[in-house]
Symmetry: C2
Subunit: 223 residues, 2 copies
């Protein structure tokens, strides 16, 4: 079997398990969001802010991926929602099988929104469907406004781009309009939010985005 055939086989098997996960999430009407970014773009910080301001009427749960440490789960746990760390032991992305196992170990079966924090890697995670409803790509202003062109596979598959660390914009050469245009050129349908996990700017709009998604989901099911 060639390298390309094997890659096909791996992705097909992943798609099969992701399909099962998608059915599982549908049965509980859960909104599942898969967060992808470079290392250090602020995925965990965003989850901290999100859980801090999470709507009282909704239940959240989190699976957080890392190659080696349990640090992220330890940061997220104090917010009082179920969280399970998935350590990949070297793998550069989460796959559907890891999410399946993580869910079994999460020990919580009731959630309206499941957050999946992928490995910090702007390339590989985008190829692996995790049964999510939407991929969300984070880009911090310190990374540069050219990244959508340079790492298109993630931007093209994302429903939402979150531009993070806007508090640092005055200190770096980041052209917000250029970044937005680049993202829209790669993916004309992508939504874009700007925020800062440090100052809290834009967090309200982000939590509102989640609520709107949950609402639309329920409306679609009811109709």
């Amino acid at each position: 079997m060639s390298r390309i055939d094997l890659r096909e086989k791996v992705l097909n098997e992943n798609d099969r398990i992701a399909g099962e996960l998608r059915e599982r999430f549908a049965r509980k009407n859960a909104l599942v969001l898969n967060f992808i970014s470079s290392p250090g773009a602020g995925k965990t910080a965003l989850l901290e802010q999100t859980l801090r301001w999470f709507p009282k009427k909704l239940k959240a749960a989190t699976l957080t991926g890392d190659i080696e440490t349990e640090n992220d789960a330890e940061r997220i746990a104090p917010y009082g929602f179920p969280v399970k760390q998935i350590t990949t032991g070297g793998a550069c992305h989460l796959d559907a099988r890891m999410v399946e196992r993580g869910l079994d170990e999460l020990g919580a079966d009731e959630y309206d929104v499941l957050f999946i924090e992928n490995i910090g890697n702007l390339v590989c995670p985008s190829s692996f469907d995790l049964g999510e409803e939407a991929k969300i790509v984070l880009l911090s202003v310190t990374e540069g406004d050219d990244k959508p062109f340079k790492y298109p596979s993630t931007f093209v598959r994302a429903d939402l781009l979150i531009i993070n660390k806007i508090d640092l914009a005055p200190y770096v050469d980041f052209d917000m309009m250029k970044a937005r245009k680049a993202a829209r050129k790669v993916n004309p349908n992508i939504e874009i939010l700007e925020l800062s996990c440090k100052t809290g700017d834009g967090i309200k709009e982000w939590v509102h985005w989640i609520q709107k998604k949950v609402h639309l989901k329920r409306k679609a099911i009811a109709s």
Copy 2:
């Protein structure tokens, strides 16, 4: 053939070509440095500063990897040294075969130092030997001081850690001592330099590091 067997085969084949590259570099006494980092950590900016202040007596050449664009080669070309863009068309890392082809297309056979800028990815590139003398990992202060623990595969194989964007340190929660300790815990032999490509702080020491490496290499060959 299983997935793991195939990975072994791919890496063995890569090692074979990397061995040939290493002999080729040895024949011309060239110092070859492989730069690895997250997207946006400043690899291209560092190359710009390096070529700007490159010692007059030495010749440099650059291979710069990207998934899709030719932007990096365009940024580096004005400094007057040979440069060739390698676009991987989706692949998340450079491999030895790509470097071999890039060298053939570089059209320059005389260089004392060859810089190879890998794809922005803190995980996958570290597995692929490119025949280099040293891997250099860049970490920007905006990514956080915990990254050596979270992405150990790159830090464990690097000879030098360059901590970049120190001009942004006052605006982010980055503990320099914690980062240095984490890197040394993962790799006790790693050297560490701190610099800012924006202000130029630390660039002199970095260029000196290159000169010292070239000098040691020539001394070893002469003896």
